[in-house]
Symmetry: C2
Subunit: 338 residues, 2 copies
Amino acid sequence: MGVVIPLEESKNKQASIKPLMDLTKPGMERVNQLILSKAGSNVQMIPEVANHLISSGGKRLRPMLTLASAAMFGYEGNSDVKLATSVEFLHTATLLHDDVVDESDLRRGKSTARMIWGNQASVLVGDFLLGQAFRMMVDVGSLDALDVLSTAASVIAEGEVLQLSVAKNMETTEDDYLSVIRAKTAALFAAAAEVGPIIAEADKAGRNALKSYGMNLGLAFQLVDDALDYGGKSADLGKNVGDDFREGKITLPVILAYRRGTQAERAFWREAIEGGQSDDAHLEKALGLITKYGGLTDTVARALHYGTIASDALAPLPDTEWKSALMDVIDFCVARVN
Amino acid sequence: MGVVIPLEESKNKQASIKPLMDLTKPGMERVNQLILSKAGSNVQMIPEVANHLISSGGKRLRPMLTLASAAMFGYEGNSDVKLATSVEFLHTATLLHDDVVDESDLRRGKSTARMIWGNQASVLVGDFLLGQAFRMMVDVGSLDALDVLSTAASVIAEGEVLQLSVAKNMETTEDDYLSVIRAKTAALFAAAAEVGPIIAEADKAGRNALKSYGMNLGLAFQLVDDALDYGGKSADLGKNVGDDFREGKITLPVILAYRRGTQAERAFWREAIEGGQSDDAHLEKALGLITKYGGLTDTVARALHYGTIASDALAPLPDTEWKSALMDVIDFCVARVN
C-alpha cells in the first residue's frame, strides 16, 4: 500500500499550528479545566466515557478557533472559554454518536467508547454532553451565539443523516459529497469561528469574515481527512487505511476514481462499495485506481482551493499575531499528515 | 396473566384529561403545525423518521402542560407554541434514542423507528430534533426558559445513564429508582410546566408552583407507567406486558416484591433479572410475586402520594378553568389505563 499524498507543504506541519497553540495556551488550560468540570457527574459512567474520548489526544482545534477569533477582536471576558468548551462538547457528542452510527472499533488509535461501554452509553453520554454544551451557552447569555451554535447542531445532525442516505450509492456526485461535509464538519468550524466576533461585539464584516474562514477551513480539513483515509498510515492517523472503503463511505477520492474510470472499473467500484466486497485485495485495487485517476492529488487540490478562500476571507482584517496564527492553521490543515 | 391494577378512579379516565385537551385545542393545532414544519428537511429521511414517531398517537401531554401553564398566568403571545413544540421535540428525541438504547421493537403498538430505518437513523434524527428544539427556544429569546430547558436536557440524559448503570442490579433501592425517574421523566414535566410562568412573566411563587406541579405529576406518571408494564394489556398500552421484565429493568413493582420476598424468592428475581431468565414461565411467576407482595397497589399508592403533592402545589393559585384542567390531569395520570 505504497500510496502517499504528495503534499509539498507537509514539512511545515509542526510549525504551522504552533503559533495558534502558543497564543491560546492560557485559554486552553481554562478550557481543559472546564471540560473536566462540566463532564463531571454523580453518575460515575458519565465522566468515565466522556474522559475516555476527551483525553484521547485530539488537537482541540475547534475550541482554539473560538478563543482566537474572540481575541482577534480584543475580547477580554470569560465567555470565550465557555463557548470554546461548548464547541468541544458538541464535537465530542458528535464523535460518540458517529462511532455508534459507523460501528467503528477504533478512533485515534484507541478503542472507541462504544467498544468499551457499549452503544447505549455512547448515545446517552453524547446526549448529556449536548445538554451541558447548551447550558454553558445559556450561561454566556448571548442569543446571537446561541443562535449560531444551535443552528450548527441541527445542521450537523442533518448532514449525518444525509451521509447515511447517500451511503453506498456510487452515483453520489461531488456536489452531494460537498453538501455532506459542509454540514457535518464545516458548519461547526464556521460556528466556532463566528462566535468569537459575536461575543467581542465585532461588526458584521468581522463576523462574516470569521464565519467564511471557518467554513472553508472546515471543508479543506475534511477533504484532507478523506484523502488521508486512503493515504495515511494507521500508526500516524489513529485509524486504519481504508476504513472509509470498508464502511462503504463515498468520499471524494472514490467519487473521482469512479467517474473518471472505465465501465469495467465502475463495475468494480459498485461491487466493492455497494456490494460490500471490501477485503484487502479489493482495497489494494481501489488504491491503485484512485492513484491512476489522481483521486488523492485532486482531493488535495480541492482542499487548497477552499484553503485559499479561507485565507482571502481573513485578508482584509488588521494584521495581528492572531490573524497570522489563523492563517498558519490553513496550511496546517491542508498539509497535515496526521 | 390476569393481573390488573385496582384503580378506583379508572372510570374517570376519559373525563379527566378532556378539559385540558379542550382548552388547549387551538394552541395544540398550532403546535402540530409547527412540529410538522420544524421536523421538515430536504434530507428526506428526516421527516420520514420524525413523523413516524410524531404521528404515532401520543397524547402530547407535555406540550399541553406548557400551553396551560402559560395561559394560567394570562400569557397571550406566540412563544408558548414554540416552547411547547420544543418540549415535544426534546421528548421525541429522547424516545428515538431510548428505543436504540433499550433495543425496543414496539412503541405504542407500532414498530419503532429503529426497526424500520435502523439504529443509525434513530440516533441522528434524534440529534436533529434536539438541535431544532434548541433553535426554537433561542428564537423565543428567553434566557430563563433556555436555562430551564437546557438543564432538563442534561438531567434527562444523566438519568438515562444512571438507569443504564443500575440496570439488572437487584440491589437497586426505591431511592435509586426515584432518582432515575425524577431525572428521566419528571424533569421534563417540570420544565414543560415551569416555562409557562416564565414567558408569562409570573412571579417566583408562580414559577415554583408550576415547577413543583410538573415534577410531582411526572413522578406519578412514571410510577403508573411502570405499574402498567406488569398490569396492562398489549392492545391498550401499545407495549407488551412484561417488556421491562424482559429487558431486566428494575422498576418499583419489582423492587418491592424483591425486598419483601423470601430468600428463595429473591434468588428467583436475581436469576430472572440479573441472569436474564425471562421467558413466559418466569414472567408468570414474577407477576404472581408482585401481586403477592402488593407491588402494583403500592406503586400506585406512591403515585397517589406524588399526585397529592402536585395538587397542593397548585392549590394556592387563583381558581381558573386552567387550574381546574391541570388538577384533573393529575387524576388522569394516576388513573389512566392506557
